[in-house]
C-alpha cells in the first residue's frame, strides 16, 4: 500500500495554493489520504489551513525557530527523517520545492522525478524536458521511494474538506548553523498571484520601459488579472524578476493569457503551454507567438490596449 507525504509550502501565515495542487496529484497515486508536513515556526494557522484541503489525511506540524524561513539546508534533514516511512514524497515544483526536495532525495540516496505533469501509474509519471519540447515517461523502480516535484500548472487545486487532525511532530535531526536568512525583498503589491490568477496580462521588450508597463497594470486591474513578463522585460528592468514567465521563470496555466509585445521564444512559450486561451498582440505579423496564439492581432500594443479598455466600458 502506498503512503504519501506532501511537503506544504507557506509563507508563515498562509498555505501556498501549490500544496492543494500537490494533494490533487497525490490523489491519483492509488494511495489513501496523504500526510501533509508543515515545517515552520508559529505556523499553527497554516497547519489548520492544510487540514482542510481535500485529500489530506493528517497534518504533521514541525514547529521550530530553525524552520521560521524556508531554507532547504534547515528543512531537508527533518523531511528526510520523516520521509523514510513513506513510499511517496511530493513537493511543489516552485522555487521552494525545487530548492528543498533534491536535497531531501540526496539525503535519502534516491533519484528525484522533477516537474511531474501527469500520473500514469503509482510509479510512472510524465515530465517535460528540453523546455517542454520532449515529454518523457519515467518509472521509479519498486525498491525506491518516489521523490517528486509536482508541476503546478498541470494539476487543479484540491478543494476544501472537513478538517483532519493536526499533530505535532518533532524531528530528532538538529538544523545546521551554516546557512542564515537575511531578508526577502518583494516587488509585488496586492495584485493577484501570477501562479494562480485566472487571467494574466504579460508584457515583453515591446512595452519599452518600466513607465509604459503602467498601461498593462491598468488593464490587469480592470480584469482582475495578474501581470507577467518575458525575460527580456525583466532583464531590461521594466518589472521585478518574480514576474518572469517561462522555462526559467514561472510555468503558469491561467484561463486566459495576454502577450503584449512578446515575440514568442521557445523559452517563453514553455511557461504558457497549458494556458486556456492565448491572446497575442504584436506589431510584427511574423512573430512566432502567433504560431501558438489562439487569438492573434497584428497591431501596436499602445493603440490596442486603450481600445480594449474602452470596449470594457
Amino acid at each position: 500500500m502506498s503512503k504519501v507525504l506532501v511537503i506544504a509550502e507557506h509563507n508563515g501565515n498562509h498555505l501556498n495554493p501549490s500544496t492543494a495542487r500537490c494533494l490533487s496529484c497525490a490523489a491519483q497515486l492509488q494511495a489513501g489520504p496523504a500526510d501533509v508536513l508543515v515545517l515552520g515556526h508559529g505556523a499553527e494557522a497554516v497547519a489548520r489551513e492544510a487540514a482542510e484541503v481535500a485529500g489530506a489525511g493528517r497534518v504533521l506540524l514541525a514547529d521550530q525557530p530553525a524552520f521560521a524561513q524556508p531554507l532547504a539546508a534547515m528543512l531537508a534533514p527533518a523531511v528526510a527523517e520523516l520521509a523514510r516511512g513513506y513510499t511517496h514524497v511530493l513537493a511543489p515544483s516552485t522555487t521552494f520545492g525545487k530548492d528543498l526536495l533534491p536535497r531531501v532525495a540526496a539525503l535519502l540516496g534516491v533519484p528525484q522525478v522533477s516537474e511531474v505533469m501527469s500520473v500514469e501509474g503509482p510509479r510512472k509519471f510524465r515530465r517535460p524536458t528540453y523546455a517542454g519540447n520532449a515529454i518523457i515517461t519515467v518509472e521509479v523502480p519498486d525498491d525506491l521511494p518516489v521523490v517528486a516535484t509536482v508541476r503546478n500548472a498541470s494539476f487543479k487545486a484540491a478543494g476544501k474538506a472537513a478538517a483532519v487532525p493536526v499533530e505535532a511532530w518533532t524531528p530528532t535531526a538538529t538544523a545546521p548553523t551554516h546557512t542564515r536568512y537575511v531578508e526577502l525583498r518583494s516587488g509585488g503589491g496586492d495584485r493577484p498571484d501570477l501562479q494562480t490568477a485566472r487571467a494574466v496580462i504579460s508584457g515583453g521588450r515591446g512595452v519599452g520601459s518600466a513607465e509604459n508597463f503602467a498601461v498593462l497594470y491598468r488593464l490587469a486591474d480592470r480584469l482582475g488579472a495578474a501581470v507577467g513578463a518575458s525575460r527580456a522585460a525583466v532583464d531590461a528592468g521594466f518589472v521585478p524578476n518574480e514576474l518572469q514567465v517561462g522555462q526559467t521563470g514561472k510555468i503558469i496555466a491561467p484561463e486566459v493569457y495576454f502577450a503584449f509585445g512578446i515575440s514568442g521564444a521557445i523559452q517563453h512559450l514553455t511557461g504558457i503551454k497549458d494556458a486556456g486561451t492565448i491572446v497575442a498582440v504584436n506589431k510584427d505579423g511574423d512573430a512566432p507567438i502567433f504560431e501558438v496564439a489562439d487569438i492573434g492581432l497584428v497591431g501596436d500594443l499602445f493603440q490596442v490596449i486603450p481600445e480594449i479598455e474602452r470596449r470594457l466600458g
Partner: protein
C-alpha cells in the same frame, strides 16, 4: 578563498529546436550544435570575476560525459579557467550520480566554492547543486542573481517565487546560478589559442567509487501535444467578440 570549481555540461545549443525520434526512443541530437549549458557559462563567468577581484586563486572547470565534452572544457579554458577535469562517461547520468562524482572531485580538490547552473536546459531537472550540497553536508544557495564573497562567507541573493531572498552561507558552499547573475564574456581568438596549452586532466568514475547506472527508467519520449490552430483577428472589435464567444471575458 583558494579554489572554485565550476561544472560545465555539454548540451544542445539553446537556439536549436530539438525533435523527438519518431519511435519515441529519445531525442535526435546527432549533428546538432552543442554548447555549454547557458547557466554553467554564467557560473564560470561568476567564478572568473571572483578570481579577478583577487578573492580566489584558482578556477577549475569540470565536465562529465563523452569525449566531446572536451570541447566545452576548451571553451571554459578559453574564457579563463585555469585548468580542467574531464570525467569520461557515455550514456545517461542522473543528477544524483553527477552529484556523487562532483562530491569526489570537490573533496579531492578541497574546493571552497562550487558554482553550478541552476538547471541544464536538456533534462531540465534542477537537482545537481542541491544534491551535491546535501552529500557534502554544506550550504546551498540556489537560483543566485547576486553573489558576494568575503573571506569565509558568501552573501547570495536568490530569485524565488516571492521576490528576491538574501541569505548568508559559510564556505565551502554550493551556489547555483540564475540568468541575471551576470553576462558571460565573449571568448577571443587569442584566448582560444592560449587555452590549447592549458591542461585537461582525465579522472575515471571508477576511481571516485561511484556507480553511474541510472535508477529511473525512461520508458518513452513524445513531442508535446500541439495546440489547436488559432485565429487571426483584424481589429479590437473582433478580438473582443472572439474572447466573449469563448467565454473568457465575462
Amino acid at each position: 578563498m583558494d579554489k572554485i570549481i565550476v561544472g560545465l555540461k555539454r548540451v544542445v545549443d539553446y537556439n536549436v529546436r530539438i525533435r523527438v525520434k519518431p519511435d519515441g526512443s529519445g531525442v535526435a541530437t546527432e549533428g546538432l550544435k552543442m554548447s555549454v549549458n547557458p547557466f554553467d557559462e554564467i557560473a564560470l563567468e561568476e567564478a572568473l570575476r571572483i578570481r579577478e577581484r583577487g578573492e580566489a586563486r584558482e578556477v577549475v572547470v569540470v565536465s562529465i560525459g563523452p569525449e566531446d565534452c572536451q570541447q566545452q572544457l576548451r571553451t571554459g579554458l578559453a574564457m579563463g579557467a585555469d585548468r580542467a577535469v574531464h570525467v569520461p562517461h557515455d550514456g545517461d547520468l542522473e543528477p544524483l550520480a553527477v552529484a556523487r562524482i562532483l562530491l569526489g572531485l570537490v573533496t579531492r580538490e578541497a574546493a571552497d566554492l562550487v558554482i553550478l547552473g541552476k538547471q541544464a536546459i536538456d533534462d531540465d531537472c534542477s537537482q545537481t547543486g542541491q544534491m551535491l550540497a546535501a552529500l557534502w553536508d554544506r550550504p546551498q544557495a540556489t537560483f543566485a542573481s547576486k553573489l558576494e564573497t568575503s573571506g569565509t562567507t558568501a552573501r547570495v541573493t536568490r530569485e524565488v517565487d516571492a521576490g528576491l531572498e538574501v541569505i548568508e552561507v559559510d564556505l565551502p558552499a554550493v551556489v547555483t546560478t540564475d540568468l541575471r547573475l551576470n553576462e558571460p564574456r565573449y571568448v577571443k581568438l587569442p584566448d582560444i589559442m592560449k587555452a590549447k596549452k592549458k591542461p585537461i586532466e582525465s579522472v575515471t568514475i571508477a576511481s571516485l567509487g561511484v556507480d553511474p547506472a541510472p535508477r529511473l527508467r525512461t520508458l518513452h519520449h513524445e513531442p508535446p501535444a500541439p495546440r489547436q490552430k488559432g485565429v487571426m483577428v483584424k481589429d479590437v472589435d473582433q478580438l473582443m467578440g472572439t474572447l466573449r464567444e469563448r467565454g473568457v471575458l465575462g
